[in-house]
Protein backbone atom coordinates (compact mmCIF):
# COMPACT_ATOMS: atom_id res chain seq x y z
CA UNK A 1 0.00 0.00 0.00
CA UNK A 2 2.79 2.45 0.85
CA UNK A 3 4.24 2.24 -2.67
CA UNK A 4 0.95 3.17 -4.25
CA UNK A 5 0.54 6.08 -1.85
CA UNK A 6 3.57 7.78 -3.37
CA UNK A 7 1.62 8.64 -6.52
CA UNK A 8 -1.20 10.58 -4.89
CA UNK A 9 -1.45 14.38 -4.57
CA UNK A 10 0.27 15.71 -1.48
CA UNK A 11 0.84 19.15 -0.09
CA UNK A 12 3.80 19.68 2.20
CA UNK A 13 2.40 21.91 4.93
CA UNK A 14 5.31 24.23 5.62
CA UNK A 15 3.41 26.65 7.85
CA UNK A 16 3.88 25.73 11.50
CA UNK A 17 0.77 24.58 13.26
CA UNK A 18 0.15 24.72 17.00
CA UNK A 19 -1.84 21.60 17.89
CA UNK A 20 -4.38 21.56 20.72
CA UNK A 21 -2.04 19.28 22.67
CA UNK A 22 0.46 22.21 22.55
CA UNK A 23 2.92 20.53 20.19
CA UNK A 24 3.98 22.58 17.20
CA UNK A 25 4.38 20.83 13.87
CA UNK A 26 5.45 21.85 10.39
CA UNK A 27 6.60 20.28 7.15
CA UNK A 28 4.12 17.44 7.20
CA UNK A 29 2.23 15.88 4.29
CA UNK A 30 -1.44 16.49 3.58
CA UNK A 31 -2.82 14.15 0.92
CA UNK A 32 -5.76 15.44 -1.11
CA UNK A 33 -7.77 15.04 -4.28
CA UNK A 34 -9.79 17.47 -6.40
CA UNK A 35 -12.63 16.98 -8.87
CA UNK A 36 -13.90 19.39 -11.52
CA UNK A 37 -12.32 22.75 -12.30
CA UNK A 38 -11.97 25.95 -10.32
CA UNK A 39 -13.66 28.64 -12.42
CA UNK A 40 -12.17 32.03 -13.16
CA UNK A 41 -14.16 33.93 -10.54
CA UNK A 42 -13.31 31.20 -8.01
CA UNK A 43 -16.87 30.99 -6.74
CA UNK A 44 -17.42 27.27 -7.27
CA UNK A 45 -15.12 25.58 -4.73
CA UNK A 46 -16.61 23.08 -2.30
CA UNK A 47 -14.55 21.56 0.49
CA UNK A 48 -15.74 18.11 1.51
CA UNK A 49 -14.64 16.71 4.85
CA UNK A 50 -14.57 12.95 5.21
CA UNK A 51 -15.86 10.86 8.10
CA UNK A 52 -14.00 8.45 10.43
CA UNK A 53 -12.98 5.81 7.90
CA UNK A 54 -13.13 7.93 4.75
CA UNK A 55 -10.33 9.40 2.70
CA UNK A 56 -9.71 12.04 0.05
CA UNK A 57 -11.13 9.88 -2.76
CA UNK A 58 -14.68 11.20 -2.75
CA UNK A 59 -15.78 10.23 -6.24
CA UNK A 60 -14.79 8.05 -9.17
CA UNK A 61 -12.63 5.01 -8.50
CA UNK A 62 -10.36 5.12 -5.48
CA UNK A 63 -6.88 4.45 -6.98
CA UNK A 64 -5.71 2.61 -3.85
CA UNK A 65 -8.66 0.37 -3.02
CA UNK A 66 -9.96 0.21 -6.63
CA UNK A 67 -13.45 0.68 -5.21
CA UNK A 68 -15.90 3.50 -5.83
CA UNK A 69 -15.19 6.74 -3.90
CA UNK A 70 -17.00 6.97 -0.57
CA UNK A 71 -19.37 9.75 -1.67
CA UNK A 72 -19.83 8.79 -5.32
CA UNK A 73 -23.60 8.79 -4.70
CA UNK A 74 -23.51 12.55 -4.12
CA UNK A 75 -20.40 13.84 -5.90
CA UNK A 76 -19.52 13.47 -9.58
CA UNK A 77 -20.54 14.63 -13.06
CA UNK A 78 -24.31 15.25 -13.04
CA UNK A 79 -24.62 14.27 -9.38
CA UNK A 80 -26.10 16.39 -6.55
CA UNK A 81 -22.69 18.02 -6.12
CA UNK A 82 -22.05 18.29 -9.83
CA UNK A 83 -18.35 18.22 -10.67
CA UNK A 84 -19.13 19.59 -14.15
CA UNK A 85 -20.09 22.76 -12.33
CA UNK A 86 -18.24 22.73 -9.02
CA UNK A 87 -14.64 22.28 -7.96
CA UNK A 88 -14.65 19.68 -5.18
CA UNK A 89 -11.72 19.36 -2.81
CA UNK A 90 -11.16 16.71 -0.17
CA UNK A 91 -8.13 16.06 2.01
CA UNK A 92 -7.24 13.04 4.07
CA UNK A 93 -7.40 14.16 7.70
CA UNK A 94 -4.20 14.31 9.71
CA UNK A 95 -4.13 11.20 11.90
CA UNK A 96 -5.45 9.27 8.90
CA UNK A 97 -3.70 6.65 6.79
CA UNK A 98 -4.21 7.61 3.15
CA UNK A 99 -1.04 9.64 2.73
CA UNK A 100 -1.56 12.46 5.23
CA UNK A 101 0.52 12.89 8.35
CA UNK A 102 -0.58 10.04 10.63
CA UNK A 103 0.64 7.37 13.04
CA UNK A 104 1.95 5.10 10.30
CA UNK A 105 4.13 7.83 8.75
CA UNK A 106 7.84 7.93 9.50
CA UNK A 107 8.91 10.12 12.41
CA UNK A 108 11.92 12.03 11.09
CA UNK A 109 13.45 12.11 14.56
CA UNK A 110 13.59 8.35 15.00
CA UNK A 111 13.33 7.21 11.37
CA UNK A 112 10.61 4.83 12.45
CA UNK A 113 6.82 4.95 12.12
CA UNK A 114 5.24 7.10 14.83
CA UNK A 115 2.87 4.54 16.30
CA UNK A 116 1.76 5.90 19.66
CA UNK A 117 4.43 8.63 19.51
CA UNK A 118 2.09 10.44 17.15
CA UNK A 119 0.52 13.39 19.01
CA UNK A 120 -3.14 13.17 19.99
CA UNK A 121 -4.88 15.42 17.48
CA UNK A 122 -8.29 17.11 17.49
CA UNK A 123 -10.97 18.04 14.99
CA UNK A 124 -9.66 21.61 15.17
CA UNK A 125 -6.14 20.42 14.30
CA UNK A 126 -7.53 18.53 11.28
CA UNK A 127 -9.36 21.61 10.08
CA UNK A 128 -6.40 23.93 10.57
CA UNK A 129 -4.26 21.61 8.46
CA UNK A 130 -6.86 21.59 5.70
CA UNK A 131 -7.13 25.37 5.64
CA UNK A 132 -3.56 25.52 4.36
CA UNK A 133 -4.77 23.58 1.32
CA UNK A 134 -7.08 26.46 0.39
CA UNK A 135 -4.12 28.84 0.40
CA UNK A 136 -2.21 26.39 -1.75
CA UNK A 137 -5.07 26.15 -4.27
CA UNK A 138 -5.57 29.93 -4.28
CA UNK A 139 -9.09 29.86 -2.88
CA UNK A 140 -9.96 32.77 -0.66
CA UNK A 141 -13.56 31.83 0.05
CA UNK A 142 -15.34 28.54 -0.51
CA UNK A 143 -18.84 28.25 -1.87
CA UNK A 144 -19.55 25.51 0.65
CA UNK A 145 -17.93 23.39 3.35
CA UNK A 146 -19.71 20.12 3.94
CA UNK A 147 -19.45 16.62 5.29
CA UNK A 148 -21.35 13.99 7.23
CA UNK A 149 -20.70 12.61 10.71
CA UNK A 150 -17.09 13.52 11.60
CA UNK A 151 -17.08 15.45 8.30
CA UNK A 152 -20.00 17.48 9.64
CA UNK A 153 -18.12 18.21 12.86
CA UNK A 154 -15.19 19.43 10.78
CA UNK A 155 -17.47 21.72 8.77
CA UNK A 156 -18.85 23.26 12.00
CA UNK A 157 -15.32 23.61 13.33
CA UNK A 158 -14.14 25.15 10.07
CA UNK A 159 -16.86 27.83 10.18
CA UNK A 160 -16.08 28.81 13.76
CA UNK A 161 -12.28 28.75 13.37
CA UNK A 162 -12.26 30.45 9.97
CA UNK A 163 -15.50 32.46 9.90
CA UNK A 164 -14.78 34.20 6.60
CA UNK A 165 -13.58 31.33 4.48
CA UNK A 166 -16.84 29.82 3.35
CA UNK A 167 -20.09 31.30 2.05
CA UNK A 168 -22.21 28.35 3.16
CA UNK A 169 -21.92 25.12 5.11
CA UNK A 170 -23.86 21.86 5.27
CA UNK A 171 -23.06 19.92 8.45
CA UNK A 172 -24.80 16.56 8.00
CA UNK A 173 -25.78 14.09 10.75
CA UNK A 174 -23.58 15.50 13.50
CA UNK A 175 -23.60 17.60 16.65
CA UNK A 176 -21.51 20.29 18.30
CA UNK A 177 -19.99 17.76 20.69
CA UNK A 178 -19.69 14.02 21.07
CA UNK A 179 -22.35 12.44 23.28
CA UNK A 180 -21.62 9.94 26.07
CA UNK A 181 -23.07 7.17 23.91
CA UNK A 182 -20.77 8.06 21.04
CA UNK A 183 -17.72 8.22 23.28
CA UNK A 184 -18.71 4.83 24.70
CA UNK A 185 -18.99 3.26 21.23
CA UNK A 186 -15.63 4.72 20.24
CA UNK A 187 -14.10 3.34 23.41
CA UNK A 188 -15.48 -0.08 22.51
CA UNK A 189 -13.74 0.17 19.13
CA UNK A 190 -10.46 1.25 20.71
CA UNK A 191 -10.59 -1.46 23.36
CA UNK A 192 -11.16 -4.08 20.67
CA UNK A 193 -7.98 -2.96 18.92
CA UNK A 194 -5.93 -2.65 22.09
CA UNK A 195 -7.06 -6.08 23.32
CA UNK A 196 -5.57 -7.70 20.21
CA UNK A 197 -2.10 -8.98 21.26
CA UNK A 198 -0.74 -8.12 17.79
CA UNK A 199 -1.43 -4.43 18.51
CA UNK A 200 1.45 -4.40 21.04
CA UNK A 201 0.95 -0.81 22.22
CA UNK A 202 0.86 0.37 18.64
CA UNK A 203 4.27 -1.07 17.73
CA UNK A 204 2.83 -3.63 15.26
CA UNK A 205 3.52 -1.08 12.55
CA UNK A 206 7.29 -1.60 12.85
CA UNK A 207 6.81 -5.34 12.36
CA UNK A 208 4.70 -4.78 9.26
CA UNK A 209 1.66 -6.59 10.69
CA UNK A 210 -1.88 -5.44 11.61
CA UNK A 211 -4.01 -6.30 14.66
CA UNK A 212 -6.60 -7.62 12.22
CA UNK A 213 -8.93 -9.26 14.71
CA UNK A 214 -9.19 -6.22 16.93
CA UNK A 215 -9.56 -3.82 14.02
CA UNK A 216 -12.27 -5.97 12.43
CA UNK A 217 -14.28 -6.02 15.69
CA UNK A 218 -13.87 -2.24 15.93
CA UNK A 219 -15.31 -1.92 12.44
CA UNK A 220 -18.22 -4.24 13.29
CA UNK A 221 -19.16 -2.01 16.23
CA UNK A 222 -19.16 0.94 13.87
CA UNK A 223 -21.31 -0.82 11.30
CA UNK A 224 -23.99 -1.70 13.83
CA UNK A 225 -24.18 1.92 14.89
CA UNK A 226 -24.50 3.19 11.30
CA UNK A 227 -27.70 1.22 10.64
CA UNK A 228 -31.10 1.58 12.24
CA UNK A 229 -32.87 -1.19 14.12
CA UNK A 230 -35.64 -1.27 11.54
CA UNK A 231 -33.27 -1.02 8.61
CA UNK A 232 -31.24 -3.94 9.92
CA UNK A 233 -34.37 -6.01 10.54
CA UNK A 234 -35.62 -5.34 7.03
CA UNK A 235 -32.27 -6.09 5.42
CA UNK A 236 -31.34 -9.22 7.36
CA UNK A 237 -34.14 -10.28 9.67
CA UNK A 238 -33.31 -13.78 10.88
CA UNK A 239 -32.25 -14.95 7.45
CA UNK A 240 -29.61 -17.66 7.39
CA UNK A 241 -26.40 -17.37 5.38
CA UNK A 242 -26.48 -19.86 2.50
CA UNK A 243 -27.82 -22.67 4.63
CA UNK A 244 -31.16 -24.28 5.36
CA UNK A 245 -30.79 -24.83 9.08
CA UNK A 246 -28.69 -23.90 12.11
CA UNK A 247 -25.31 -25.54 12.21
CA UNK A 248 -25.11 -25.65 15.97
CA UNK A 249 -21.72 -24.01 15.85
CA UNK A 250 -20.29 -20.50 16.11
CA UNK A 251 -19.84 -19.99 12.40
CA UNK A 252 -21.77 -17.17 10.79
CA UNK A 253 -25.18 -18.85 10.61
CA UNK A 254 -27.10 -15.60 10.27
CA UNK A 255 -26.76 -13.21 7.35
CA UNK A 256 -26.22 -10.31 9.70
CA UNK A 257 -23.21 -12.08 11.23
CA UNK A 258 -21.78 -12.80 7.83
CA UNK A 259 -22.30 -9.15 6.83
CA UNK A 260 -20.46 -7.88 9.91
CA UNK A 261 -17.58 -10.30 9.44
CA UNK A 262 -17.25 -9.31 5.81
CA UNK A 263 -17.28 -5.59 6.66
CA UNK A 264 -14.77 -6.14 9.45
CA UNK A 265 -12.27 -8.20 7.51
CA UNK A 266 -12.33 -6.19 4.28
CA UNK A 267 -11.75 -3.05 6.33
CA UNK A 268 -8.41 -4.26 7.71
CA UNK A 269 -7.05 -4.33 4.16
CA UNK A 270 -7.41 -0.59 3.80
CA UNK A 271 -7.15 0.97 7.24
CA UNK A 272 -4.55 1.37 9.95
CA UNK A 273 -5.54 0.38 13.49
CA UNK A 274 -3.63 3.21 15.17
CA UNK A 275 -5.42 5.71 12.90
CA UNK A 276 -8.74 4.47 14.30
CA UNK A 277 -7.47 5.16 17.83
CA UNK A 278 -6.36 8.68 16.95
CA UNK A 279 -9.35 9.69 14.87
CA UNK A 280 -11.96 8.34 17.31
CA UNK A 281 -10.13 10.23 20.06
CA UNK A 282 -10.33 13.44 18.05
CA UNK A 283 -14.09 12.91 17.72
CA UNK A 284 -14.47 12.29 21.46
CA UNK A 285 -12.61 15.49 22.31
CA UNK A 286 -14.82 17.51 19.98
CA UNK A 287 -16.85 20.03 21.97
CA UNK A 288 -17.37 23.41 20.34
CA UNK A 289 -18.90 24.99 23.44
CA UNK A 290 -15.76 24.10 25.40
CA UNK A 291 -13.54 25.95 22.93
CA UNK A 292 -15.36 29.22 23.43
CA UNK A 293 -15.89 30.90 26.74
CA UNK A 294 -19.59 31.60 26.78
CA UNK A 295 -20.49 28.39 25.00
CA UNK A 296 -22.12 27.82 21.65
CA UNK A 297 -23.70 31.24 21.31
CA UNK A 298 -20.21 32.70 21.52
CA UNK A 299 -18.90 30.04 19.11
CA UNK A 300 -21.38 31.08 16.43
CA UNK A 301 -21.32 34.81 17.17
CA UNK A 302 -21.17 37.04 14.08
CA UNK A 303 -21.41 34.04 11.73
CA UNK A 304 -22.00 35.19 8.17
CA UNK A 305 -22.00 31.63 6.83
CA UNK A 306 -25.34 30.31 5.59
CA UNK A 307 -25.95 26.95 7.22
CA UNK A 308 -28.07 23.99 6.24
CA UNK A 309 -28.21 21.30 8.92
CA UNK A 310 -29.48 17.91 7.75
CA UNK A 311 -30.45 15.01 10.02
CA UNK A 312 -31.89 11.55 9.34
CA UNK A 313 -34.95 10.36 11.22
CA UNK A 314 -33.56 6.87 11.98
CA UNK A 315 -30.03 7.99 12.93
CA UNK A 316 -29.51 7.02 16.57
CA UNK A 317 -25.82 7.94 16.61
CA UNK A 318 -26.37 11.63 15.88
CA UNK A 319 -30.09 12.03 16.47
CA UNK A 320 -32.35 14.66 14.98
CA UNK A 321 -32.51 16.19 18.44
CA UNK A 322 -28.72 16.62 18.54
CA UNK A 323 -28.70 18.15 15.08
CA UNK A 324 -31.55 20.41 16.10
CA UNK A 325 -29.60 21.58 19.14
CA UNK A 326 -27.02 22.92 16.68
CA UNK A 327 -29.83 24.72 14.85
CA UNK A 328 -31.07 26.20 18.12
CA UNK A 329 -27.59 27.45 19.02
CA UNK A 330 -27.14 28.97 15.56
CA UNK A 331 -30.53 30.64 15.84
CA UNK A 332 -29.74 31.97 19.27
CA UNK A 333 -26.61 33.56 17.80
CA UNK A 334 -28.62 35.12 14.99
CA UNK A 335 -26.92 33.02 12.31
CA UNK A 336 -28.61 32.20 9.00
CA UNK A 337 -29.64 28.57 9.35
CA UNK A 338 -31.91 26.13 7.59
CA UNK A 339 -32.77 22.68 8.84
CA UNK A 340 -34.28 19.60 7.22
CA UNK A 341 -34.87 16.13 8.60
CA UNK A 342 -34.82 13.38 5.99
CA UNK A 343 -37.32 10.63 6.78
CA UNK A 344 -35.54 7.33 6.16
CA UNK A 345 -34.89 3.92 7.69
CA UNK A 346 -31.27 3.88 6.57
CA UNK A 347 -29.83 5.19 9.83
CA UNK A 348 -26.64 7.21 10.20
CA UNK A 349 -25.35 5.76 6.91
CA UNK A 350 -28.11 7.59 4.99
CA UNK A 351 -25.76 10.31 3.78
CA UNK A 352 -23.53 7.72 2.09
CA UNK A 353 -26.21 5.75 0.26
CA UNK A 354 -28.60 6.63 -2.52
CA UNK A 355 -31.27 8.51 -0.56
CA UNK A 356 -33.07 10.63 -3.19
CA UNK A 357 -34.72 13.12 -0.82
CA UNK A 358 -31.37 13.84 0.81
CA UNK A 359 -29.56 14.25 -2.50
CA UNK A 360 -32.26 16.58 -3.84
CA UNK A 361 -32.02 18.75 -0.74
CA UNK A 362 -28.24 18.85 -1.00
CA UNK A 363 -28.39 19.87 -4.66
CA UNK A 364 -31.17 22.42 -4.13
CA UNK A 365 -29.26 24.18 -1.38
CA UNK A 366 -25.86 24.23 -3.10
CA UNK A 367 -27.26 25.44 -6.43
CA UNK A 368 -29.21 28.25 -4.74
CA UNK A 369 -26.17 29.21 -2.65
CA UNK A 370 -24.06 29.36 -5.80
CA UNK A 371 -26.41 31.95 -7.29
CA UNK A 372 -26.29 34.00 -4.09
CA UNK A 373 -22.51 33.73 -3.80
CA UNK A 374 -22.05 34.88 -7.40
CA UNK A 375 -24.29 37.88 -6.69
CA UNK A 376 -22.36 38.70 -3.54
CA UNK A 377 -19.06 38.55 -5.42
CA UNK A 378 -20.39 40.84 -8.14
CA UNK A 379 -21.31 43.58 -5.62
Amino acid sequence: MSNKLENIKKLNVSKSLLLDCKQTVKDFPLAYETYGKLNESKDNAILVFHALTGDQFVSGINPITKKEGWWATAVGPGKAIDTNKYFVICANVIGGCMGSWGPKEIDKKTNEPYGLNFPVITIRDMVKAQETLLDHLGIEKLLCATGGSMGGMQSLQFCTTFPNRTFSAIPIACGTSHSAQNIALNELARQAIMADPVWDKGKYIKKNVQPKNGLAVARMVGHISYLSEKGMQEKFGRKLQEKADYEFSFDADFQVESYLRHQGYTFVERFDANSILYITRAMDYFDLSRQFKGGLIEAFKNQKTKFLIISFSSDWLYTTKENKDTVIALNASGADVSFAEIKTEKGHDSFLVNEPEFLKTLKGFIDSMHIKFKNEKRI
Binding site: K306, A332, F339, A340
Partner: protein, 197 residues
Protein backbone atom coordinates in the same frame (compact mmCIF):
# COMPACT_ATOMS: atom_id res chain seq x y z
CA UNK B 1 -55.04 34.60 -1.02
CA UNK B 2 -52.46 36.60 -2.95
CA UNK B 3 -53.99 39.85 -1.72
CA UNK B 4 -53.18 38.84 1.84
CA UNK B 5 -49.44 38.59 1.14
CA UNK B 6 -49.55 41.99 -0.52
CA UNK B 7 -51.21 43.46 2.58
CA UNK B 8 -48.62 41.84 4.85
CA UNK B 9 -45.74 43.05 2.64
CA UNK B 10 -47.16 46.59 2.71
CA UNK B 11 -47.21 46.54 6.52
CA UNK B 12 -43.48 45.82 6.63
CA UNK B 13 -40.77 48.47 6.26
CA UNK B 14 -37.71 47.75 4.12
CA UNK B 15 -34.52 46.12 5.46
CA UNK B 16 -35.98 44.55 8.60
CA UNK B 17 -35.62 41.06 10.08
CA UNK B 18 -38.71 38.88 9.77
CA UNK B 19 -39.62 35.38 10.99
CA UNK B 20 -42.37 33.74 8.95
CA UNK B 21 -43.98 31.07 11.13
CA UNK B 22 -45.66 28.40 9.01
CA UNK B 23 -44.02 29.78 5.89
CA UNK B 24 -45.41 27.10 3.55
CA UNK B 25 -43.56 26.89 0.24
CA UNK B 26 -41.92 30.26 0.86
CA UNK B 27 -44.13 32.40 -1.42
CA UNK B 28 -44.42 35.22 1.11
CA UNK B 29 -40.74 35.00 2.04
CA UNK B 30 -39.78 35.21 -1.61
CA UNK B 31 -41.93 38.31 -2.03
CA UNK B 32 -40.41 39.98 1.03
CA UNK B 33 -36.84 39.28 -0.08
CA UNK B 34 -37.39 40.55 -3.62
CA UNK B 35 -39.56 43.59 -2.93
CA UNK B 36 -38.37 44.78 0.45
CA UNK B 37 -34.85 43.43 0.84
CA UNK B 38 -36.07 41.85 4.06
CA UNK B 39 -33.90 39.32 5.89
CA UNK B 40 -36.44 36.58 6.38
CA UNK B 41 -36.40 33.18 8.09
CA UNK B 42 -39.12 30.57 7.96
CA UNK B 43 -40.40 27.84 10.23
CA UNK B 44 -42.38 25.10 8.50
CA UNK B 45 -43.85 21.77 9.57
CA UNK B 46 -44.37 20.09 6.18
CA UNK B 47 -41.21 18.41 4.87
CA UNK B 48 -42.14 18.95 1.21
CA UNK B 49 -42.58 22.70 1.77
CA UNK B 50 -39.27 22.91 3.65
CA UNK B 51 -37.48 21.52 0.60
CA UNK B 52 -39.25 23.93 -1.74
CA UNK B 53 -37.96 26.81 0.39
CA UNK B 54 -34.42 25.41 0.40
CA UNK B 55 -34.43 25.06 -3.41
CA UNK B 56 -35.40 28.73 -3.61
CA UNK B 57 -32.45 29.66 -1.43
CA UNK B 58 -34.70 30.70 1.45
CA UNK B 59 -33.65 30.00 5.04
CA UNK B 60 -36.13 27.64 6.61
CA UNK B 61 -36.20 25.42 9.66
CA UNK B 62 -38.26 22.25 9.66
CA UNK B 63 -40.17 22.28 12.91
CA UNK B 64 -43.44 22.65 14.76
CA UNK B 65 -44.42 26.15 15.89
CA UNK B 66 -46.56 24.68 18.65
CA UNK B 67 -43.53 23.15 20.39
CA UNK B 68 -40.40 24.70 18.94
CA UNK B 69 -40.72 28.47 19.14
CA UNK B 70 -38.66 28.44 22.34
CA UNK B 71 -35.50 28.19 20.20
CA UNK B 72 -35.85 31.81 19.08
CA UNK B 73 -34.46 34.35 21.56
CA UNK B 74 -36.47 37.27 22.94
CA UNK B 75 -36.94 40.15 20.52
CA UNK B 76 -34.67 38.51 17.96
CA UNK B 77 -36.80 39.64 15.01
CA UNK B 78 -38.36 42.99 14.12
CA UNK B 79 -41.52 41.25 12.94
CA UNK B 80 -42.98 37.78 13.25
CA UNK B 81 -45.59 36.79 10.68
CA UNK B 82 -48.20 34.07 11.15
CA UNK B 83 -50.49 33.67 8.18
CA UNK B 84 -53.81 31.85 8.68
CA UNK B 85 -52.45 29.35 11.15
CA UNK B 86 -53.36 30.68 14.61
CA UNK B 87 -56.66 28.83 14.58
CA UNK B 88 -54.90 25.51 13.90
CA UNK B 89 -52.85 25.39 17.10
CA UNK B 90 -53.86 23.43 20.19
CA UNK B 91 -52.99 26.44 22.27
CA UNK B 92 -53.21 29.62 20.19
CA UNK B 93 -52.81 31.85 23.23
CA UNK B 94 -49.44 30.32 24.13
CA UNK B 95 -48.24 30.53 20.52
CA UNK B 96 -49.27 34.17 20.24
CA UNK B 97 -47.46 35.01 23.46
CA UNK B 98 -44.34 33.35 22.06
CA UNK B 99 -44.64 35.34 18.84
CA UNK B 100 -44.88 38.57 20.81
CA UNK B 101 -41.82 37.55 22.81
CA UNK B 102 -39.74 36.79 19.68
CA UNK B 103 -40.82 39.77 17.59
CA UNK B 104 -40.97 43.45 18.40
CA UNK B 105 -44.21 43.37 16.41
CA UNK B 106 -46.39 40.53 15.20
CA UNK B 107 -48.51 40.28 12.08
CA UNK B 108 -51.20 37.62 12.10
CA UNK B 109 -54.00 36.85 9.71
CA UNK B 110 -57.11 34.81 10.39
CA UNK B 111 -59.86 33.43 8.20
CA UNK B 112 -62.89 35.30 9.49
CA UNK B 113 -65.61 32.96 10.78
CA UNK B 114 -67.86 36.01 11.03
CA UNK B 115 -67.90 36.52 7.24
CA UNK B 116 -71.52 36.64 6.02
CA UNK B 117 -71.21 33.59 3.77
CA UNK B 118 -69.95 31.53 6.67
CA UNK B 119 -72.73 32.78 8.89
CA UNK B 120 -75.50 32.19 6.36
CA UNK B 121 -74.17 28.78 5.47
CA UNK B 122 -74.64 27.63 9.05
CA UNK B 123 -77.88 29.56 9.48
CA UNK B 124 -79.58 28.42 6.28
CA UNK B 125 -78.28 24.91 5.86
CA UNK B 126 -77.57 24.01 9.46
CA UNK B 127 -74.23 22.51 8.45
CA UNK B 128 -70.64 23.43 9.23
CA UNK B 129 -69.60 25.99 6.63
CA UNK B 130 -67.41 24.89 3.73
CA UNK B 131 -66.29 27.90 1.71
CA UNK B 132 -63.50 28.81 -0.68
CA UNK B 133 -61.46 30.13 2.23
CA UNK B 134 -62.46 27.31 4.61
CA UNK B 135 -62.48 24.35 2.24
CA UNK B 136 -62.34 21.50 4.78
CA UNK B 137 -65.22 19.50 6.16
CA UNK B 138 -65.74 19.39 9.93
CA UNK B 139 -63.96 16.06 10.36
CA UNK B 140 -60.79 16.82 8.44
CA UNK B 141 -60.26 20.50 9.16
CA UNK B 142 -56.95 21.49 10.75
CA UNK B 143 -58.76 24.50 12.25
CA UNK B 144 -59.32 23.70 15.91
CA UNK B 145 -60.05 27.22 17.13
CA UNK B 146 -62.03 29.16 14.53
CA UNK B 147 -62.68 32.76 15.47
CA UNK B 148 -64.04 35.97 14.03
CA UNK B 149 -62.40 39.36 13.61
CA UNK B 150 -64.50 40.56 16.53
CA UNK B 151 -63.33 37.64 18.68
CA UNK B 152 -59.74 38.62 18.04
CA UNK B 153 -60.43 42.23 19.02
CA UNK B 154 -61.96 41.01 22.30
CA UNK B 155 -59.11 38.55 22.87
CA UNK B 156 -56.45 41.25 22.42
CA UNK B 157 -58.14 43.65 24.77
CA UNK B 158 -58.55 40.92 27.40
CA UNK B 159 -54.87 39.90 27.12
CA UNK B 160 -53.52 43.46 26.92
CA UNK B 161 -52.21 43.01 23.38
CA UNK B 162 -52.13 46.26 21.43
CA UNK B 163 -53.69 46.24 17.96
CA UNK B 164 -51.71 48.77 15.92
CA UNK B 165 -53.50 48.05 12.66
CA UNK B 166 -56.40 45.83 11.66
CA UNK B 167 -57.21 45.29 8.00
CA UNK B 168 -60.12 43.47 6.43
CA UNK B 169 -59.11 41.65 3.26
CA UNK B 170 -61.23 40.41 0.37
CA UNK B 171 -60.08 39.35 -3.11
CA UNK B 172 -60.42 42.80 -4.60
CA UNK B 173 -60.50 45.18 -1.69
CA UNK B 174 -58.90 45.95 1.60
CA UNK B 175 -60.18 48.22 4.33
CA UNK B 176 -59.07 49.52 7.68
CA UNK B 177 -60.96 48.04 10.64
CA UNK B 178 -61.67 50.31 13.60
CA UNK B 179 -63.78 49.86 16.72
CA UNK B 180 -66.39 52.08 15.03
CA UNK B 181 -66.84 49.87 11.94
CA UNK B 182 -66.04 46.53 13.57
CA UNK B 183 -69.56 45.05 13.25
CA UNK B 184 -69.78 45.73 9.54
CA UNK B 185 -66.19 44.68 8.74
CA UNK B 186 -66.67 41.53 10.76
CA UNK B 187 -69.57 40.69 8.47
CA UNK B 188 -67.97 41.53 5.13
CA UNK B 189 -64.27 40.61 5.43
CA UNK B 190 -63.02 37.20 4.42
CA UNK B 191 -59.73 37.64 6.23
CA UNK B 192 -58.48 39.81 9.01
CA UNK B 193 -54.84 40.94 9.12
CA UNK B 194 -53.60 42.36 12.43
CA UNK B 195 -50.46 44.20 13.39
CA UNK B 196 -49.91 43.54 17.09
CA UNK B 197 -47.39 44.57 19.69
Amino acid sequence: MKKEFKVIADLLPKNVRVLDVGCGDGSLMDLLVKEKNIEVRGLELVEENVKKCIYKGLSVIEGNAETELHQFPNQSFDFVVLSQTLQAFYNPEKVLKDLLRIGKSVIISIPNFGYWKVRTSLLLFGKMPVTKNLPNTWYDTPNLHMCTIKDLFDFCSEKNIRIDRAIGVNENSISEIKKSNLEIKNLFSKLGVFLLS
